[in-house]
Symmetry: C2
Subunit: 188 residues, 2 copies
């Protein structure tokens, strides 16, 4: 009796934590946008990053991209250099601004332009990882395995299907743990 009361108390305390960690799907297989992803662990950001020819980039109105991952998977990666099943990444794309308040140069972030996600789910996706674009909604269906996201991540990622090459802190972890993909090269 004492023990069960303690477990209930412990559950209540843990249940008060604000993080709902990892992916949640509807019964129809749609991925839900986590309401609290801004409290997930930030991996890195870029400005105007361009995977195709640089001429395609828009230097006057570049976009920021912020990458977040669910906290328990981040902590697992620090320990192992691998992503556990049910890892979820959020890519938040924001517009940029140059002049406002006391800022005279460079760029800072403004409104959200797009939200995308990547999920590792070995049972759900043939290639283990699925990719999603939320548009203006809070639910998304996976892109087909033939999508550009799937093939680019499959071919170019540093660790499993993830672009750890752009997350400097985790790149060091992967080097130490020896978990970089065979054939991956940092050089251009």
């Amino acid at each position: 009796m004492k023990r069960s009361f303690c477990l209930v108390l412990t559950s209540l305390v843990l249940g008060a934590q604000p993080l709902s960690d990892g992916p949640h799907f509807t019964t129809a297989g749609e991925l839900l946008l986590p309401k609290d992803y801004r409290q997930w662990v930030f991996l890195s950001s870029g400005l105007g990053m361009t995977y195709g020819p640089a001429a395609q980039a828009n230097p006057t109105d570049p976009l920021f991209d912020n990458v977040f991952v669910n906290p328990s998977s981040y902590r697992a990666f620090l320990e192992t250099g691998h992503w556990p099943d049910h890892t979820m990444f959020i890519l938040e794309v924001r517009r940029s601004t140059s002049k406002g308040s006391i800022n005279n140069g460079g760029h800072y972030q403004s409104e959200v332009a797009a939200i995308e996600a990547a999920v590792k789910d070995e049972a759900r996706f043939k290639e283990k990882w699925g990719y999603f674009g939320f548009g203006r909604g809070d639910k998304a269906t996976p892109l087909p395995a033939s999508s550009a996201c799937n093939s680019c991540h499959r071919q170019n990622a540093a660790v499993e299907n993830t672009f750890v090459q752009f997350y400097p802190e985790l790149l060091e972890v992967a080097k130490r743990k020896g978990t970089l993909n065979q054939g991956f090269s940092e050089s251009h």
Copy 2:
């Protein structure tokens, strides 16, 4: 007896959490760099932000700045639009890279160039907020109240002494809660 055992169990469970939330000082008044600040809540990042004349900026080698805040203070701000006492910000400055792996344009983040902090401590600092630069170390003494950091934050910040004008999600919270500083203007 039952109660104390439960409290011990609860403390043990909570003690397993990786976040050590907020500022910690040595007995000599030095601020300790939190080992886990990368698991704090990310507020925003900028690239090459320039508060003085834009000509001072270095457009060929701009720096990223990532801002993190301790999680409990972030959650309090979402509720109230104010920062509780013992709020702590970390400003992580990183170098940028343009070409590497599949990236051909724009900028992504590389190694850490500097780490700074701002702490709200009403008992410790006459103006409530103190500012710190860690250099290569993991301890820092507060800058004098006459520092450029202190005066710029005092004069130009959107909420209390913090640059919420550059954190788009929190700027909306402050507008809704009516906690913007009197006289603050977003325009340049």
